[in-house]
Symmetry: C2
Subunit: 146 residues, 2 copies
DNA sequence: GTCAGTGCAAACCCTTTGCAGAAAG
DNA sequence: CTTTCTGCAAAGGGTTTGCACTGAC
């Protein structure tokens, strides 16, 4: 399910359909996340939500994000050592991450494909496959021979 | 460069060759990391090092790991939201991560291949390409329809 | 009225930092 | 001797938790 650009009515309905009671805060958070394709941190979500609807706390943002991830309507991007990013696009796709600027860009699954997924150990279930291409803006001086 | 299973003399020499002065602590840390192929956290490294050589502090472990990563003799695995793992195998390969048990296993680049690496934006240099297959041990009950 | 959801602040945990002392070259 | 490195403890920063309050049904 991909909820990006869903309108508010649909969002509430969709949450309800997943057994998530659509509280004011969850709607506000969902509205921020699903407004467009993006890669956004919890802190950024909190900022944006509070700009639109002051009564959402940090704890609720985290609770809600974890709930959305568990329900698989948001994808968690573990890309940076310091913080998690959240991606409303749950369609299979990959990422290119600039370690210098922090910029994250999508790579479609069509343009970059992963083949040869190994046989999974028994009793184990596939959860996801993440491909992260890391780039840096500038050459590392120390790595360049003089 | 892959330093796994190097002996101590080689390790000191290799560090020196990279402009890393081979202090007692760095050797002790390197000895733990490069003793075998593994995926190990900073905390685990600290434990093991202290078991063998009591005089290494947490700060030095972190400093040394960051130095080794920068010098590209250790690969940093950003796989889990809570902590970074370190991999002495710098040859191109991928990982399968069990989110329930925390187990990390290697997938060779031969068995799983990534094709269609996008053209990088100009002024940007490839730093690495990480593929993580996430699995879980048990089906998520809430995800199973009743 | 009951139970789930929220807000606040404190706790947590991994990682980094500041600085004085120790070691390397 | 000078510079780099280390140890300690404290600070930092993202995330989680405990608990009382609020709101949904």
């Amino acid at each position: 399910m991909n909820l990006v650009s869903n309108n508010l009515v649909d969002l509430a309905e969709n949450l309800r359909g997943l057994g998530i009671s659509p509280t004011k805060q969850r709607i506000a958070i969902g509205e921020v996340i699903f407004s467009r394709n993006q890669h956004i941190s919890a802190e950024q979500i909190l900022e944006k939500v509070q700009k639109a609807d002051a009564s959402v706390s940090k704890a609720t943002v985290y609770n809600t994000l974890n709930l959305f991830v568990e329900k698989k309507i948001v994808r968690e991007l573990i890309i940076d050592r310091s913080k998690v990013f959240y991606d409303p696009n749950t369609d299979f796709h990959h990422h290119i991450y600039n370690v210098d600027t922090g910029e994250i860009r999508d790579i479609s699954a069509e343009s970059l494909s992963v083949t040869g997924l190994p046989e999974l150990p028994s009793g184990v279930q596939l959860e996801g496959a993440d491909v992260v291409i890391r780039v840096r803006s500038k050459p590392v001086e120390s790595a360049v021979s003089v």
